[in-house]
């Protein structure tokens, strides 16, 4: 069991062990540093509040990815609603490039992140977990509660859609 209520030291060690992984996955998904930090905090607060939610069936990191991705989807939906709900609206997100992308790929990665924003939720999540977090299909299935074949088809569709979006972007730029 992951009950940290009486053990602040163990909780601190747990955060230090997993925070980089959670933060980077969230950052790739929401493409905004401040939002990613807030969501990462919420993930660990959830772990503290509801330790019983972890039943030990999968790896802890898989469980953390699941909480993180769900929170990202909620966050992006709320943001989308806010943007659509007001007349002035929030501005379109700035061009994002993850700070860890190697220098010679940064310009291309800018297009990738832009195209990823146009993918449906599930395809985007599967793409982030597979191509950016390097999770296996089995792990992605556990995070997203999907069968192996569903993950495969989701990633295939994500790739096809990204190609379509990118060919449009390359003509416009």
């Amino acid at each position: 069991m992951l009950n940290f209520r009486d053990d602040a030291v163990a909780f601190r060690a747990f955060i230090l062990e997993h925070q980089t992984r959670v933060f980077n996955a969230v950052l790739n998904k929401v493409q905004h540093v401040q939002d990613a930090e807030d969501i990462t905090q919420e993930v660990f607060i959830d772990v503290y509040r509801k330790p019983e939610a972890y039943r030990g069936e999968a790896a802890v990191s898989t469980w953390l990815y699941r909480i993180a991705m769900n929170k990202c989807i909620d966050h992006l939906r709320k943001k989308q609603r806010r943007r659509g709900g007001t007349a002035t609206g929030e501005k379109e997100p700035m061009d994002f490039v993850h700070p860890g992308i190697v220098a010679e790929n940064r310009e291309k990665a800018r297009f990738l992140y832009k195209a990823m924003r146009q993918l449906p939720d599930k395809q985007q999540t599967a793409w982030v977990l597979s191509e950016m977090e390097n999770l296996s299909y089995k792990d992605i299935g556990e995070v997203m509660n999907l069968s192996l074949s569903s993950v495969e088809s989701l990633l295939f569709r994500a790739r096809q859609n990204l190609k379509k979006i990118l060919s449009g972007l390359s003509k416009n730029e």
Binding site: A8, F11, R12, I15, L16, Q19, T20, R21, F23, N24, L27, N28, E37, T40, Q41, F44, I45, Y48, R49, H98, P99, G100, I101, V102, N105, K108, A109, F111, L112, A115, E131, M132, R159, L162, K163, L166, S167, S170
Partner: protein, 104 residues
């Protein structure tokens, strides 16, 4: 031309490969710990049983009713309670013991 475009798309799709993880803000941990402290306080408040809250509310209500009834009695001097009459009759409201002794 088509081939160049396809090559470019493939390069874009591969552009995130080999990225390094971004460093986490050191204040993130502090922020989480501060929020946990807030949560702990909230949890303590949530753990107070409803029975005790109701008992405290009942006690406060009872004291309020007693106070109001006493204030009403004092407000109408013509109506003396039996207790006040008894106190006056036996002179128990006089705290001067020496005077009482003198009178005997």
């Amino acid at each position: 031309m088509e081939n160049i475009n396809e090559k470019w798309i493939e390069e874009v799709l591969q552009s995130a490969k080999g990225m390094h993880p971004a460093a986490v803000d050191p204040y993130l941990l502090t922020g989480i710990e501060a929020r946990v402290q807030q949560l702990k306080r909230k949890l303590v408040v949530e753990q107070i049983p409803l029975y005790w809250v109701l008992a405290a509310a009942a006690a406060i209500g009872l004291l309020l009713v007693l106070n109001i009834s006493l204030l009403r009695n004092e407000a109408s001097p013509s109506k003396k309670s039996s207790l006040q009459e008894l106190v006056q009759e036996y002179g128990w409201n006089n705290s001067d013991f020496y005077t009482m002794n003198d009178s005997k």
